[in-house]
């Protein structure tokens, strides 16, 4: 019983064995914990949605089959349960992104290098949401202010565009040995596989984008 348990603690971190659903769950958790909007996992999401669709139509087909035995019903029930589980993950992932897109709509639009992180639909939504917000601000307050104070983009302090708080601390788990990063106090940190740290998001964001780490 005293054997070393390193194996079972981190078996799920192997890239080659990671199945699409596990990957989606990982990206869902990353998105939930990161203060910033992360790149959309478009291909992965499309694959999973496709799979849900196929599985649903198989289930519906089997359901209408009068020949189906009890054993068959039972498989249908399990498949149905899984579809609901996966749908929950997909929905939560998309909604998490949506909440960030709405919070930071104007910030995202102001920097075209961020546009690639969003899907086409998300970007469209950000645009129309930002437009609505601008109109609302203008109608309710800004038009009553003196002309030189009406702008929403002026580079004054505090800035009128809210960026995400990238100094927010996050819990990071290294999926493999990582290249060094620099901590806020100037020291160098090289995360070893399996290491867990609490540190500011901006310290590890590059590692996160390269899938070296995940947020837990």
């Amino acid at each position: 019983m005293n054997k070393d348990c390193h194996d079972f603690a981190f078996t799920d971190l192997d890239d080659t064995q990671e199945l699409p659903l596990q990957r989606l769950i990982r990206h869902w958790m990353n998105e939930r914990h990161a203060p910033d909007i992360l790149p959309i996992q478009a291909e992965l999401l499309a694959g999973i949605l496709d799979h849900i669709h196929k599985q649903s139509s198989t289930v519906n087909l089997l359901r209408t089959d009068p020949e189906a035995s009890g054993d068959e019903h039972f498989r249908i029930m399990l498949a149905q349960t899984e579809i609901e589980r996966v749908k929950f993950v997909v929905r939560s992932y998309v909604r998490t992104r949506l909440s960030k897109i709405e919070d930071y709509a104007r910030w995202i639009l102001s920097d075209s290098s961020l546009h690639g992180r969003l899907s086409e639909t998300e970007l469209k939504h950000a645009q129309s949401y930002a437009d609505l917000l601008t109109t609302h601000f203008e109608e309710s307050v800004l038009k009553a202010l003196p002309g030189n104070q009406r702008s929403l983009d002026d580079k004054v302090i505090p800035p009128m565009v809210t960026p995400p708080d990238i100094t927010k601390p996050v819990f990071v788990l290294a999926r493999r040995d990582c290249p060094p990063v620099y901590l806020p106090d100037g020291t160098k940190m090289e995360m070893k596989k399996g290491q867990i740290s609490l540190t500011q998001y901006r310290v590890i964001d590059s590692l996160l984008f390269q899938d070296h780490v995940e947020l837990v």
Partner: protein
């Protein structure tokens, strides 16, 4: 349709349970089932009394309908947990446990305690381990600074538990340091 405010700060324990339920576990099925393709992968065939490896959520589903017995993982036994508890109390670091041990053990204890040997003893041991580890992670607070805190060995549910307080604490320390290169966010959060 955006994520509700209550879910934005942290993940909830039921969500962690949902994630942990993807982990594979051995069962002894009491019904036959052909190999079936699921979204997460293909499982089966189930042929009693041969053991089969399925995700925890399938095991739970079958167990609730009395269609299988769950084979508890090696670490969910009195012997193993006793050993972990003694390490936990004698060493300063966190002893190695499966990352999702809290979620998995809860699910199994809730629905399949009859498949465990001595479930009451296991419950007590898990509680003792939890408390020993909790006091260690609370000690971690004293080492908190604005930069980094190593928490290796901590498990997912434990991280979730300390998250709000640790994040808030570190945030305050960050504001106090006032890194001149990164002026603190002036919007009040």
């Amino acid at each position: 349709m955006a994520l509700p405010q209550s879910l934005r700060t942290s993940v909830t324990p039921p969500e962690l349970e949902l994630i942990a339920s993807e982990q594979l576990i051995d069962i002894v099925p009491l019904v036959t089932m052909e190999k079936t393709a699921f979204i997460s992968g293909a499982y089966g065939p189930l042929r009693p009394p041969a053991k089969a490896r399925v995700p925890l959520w399938i095991a739970v589903n079958l167990k609730l309908k009395k269609k299988c017995h769950i084979v508890p993982p090696e670490w969910l036994s009195v012997e193993f947990l006793q050993d972990r508890l003694s390490r936990e109390t004698s060493n300063p670091g966190f002893s190695q446990l499966p990352f999702q041990f809290a979620e998995i053990s809860k699910v199994i204890l809730d629905i399949a305690s009859d498949d465990l040997e001595n479930p009451d003893k296991i419950r007590t041991l898990l509680k003792d381990i939890r408390e020993a580890r909790q006091s260690k992670s609370r000690e971690g607070i004293t080492k908190l600074d604005h930069s980094e805190l190593g928490l290796s060995g901590l498990c997912s549910m434990e991280i979730n538990e300390i998250r709000p307080f640790f994040i808030k604490g570190m945030n305050v320390l960050t504001k106090l340091i006032r890194d001149p290169e990164h002026p603190p966010n002036l919007d009040e959060t």
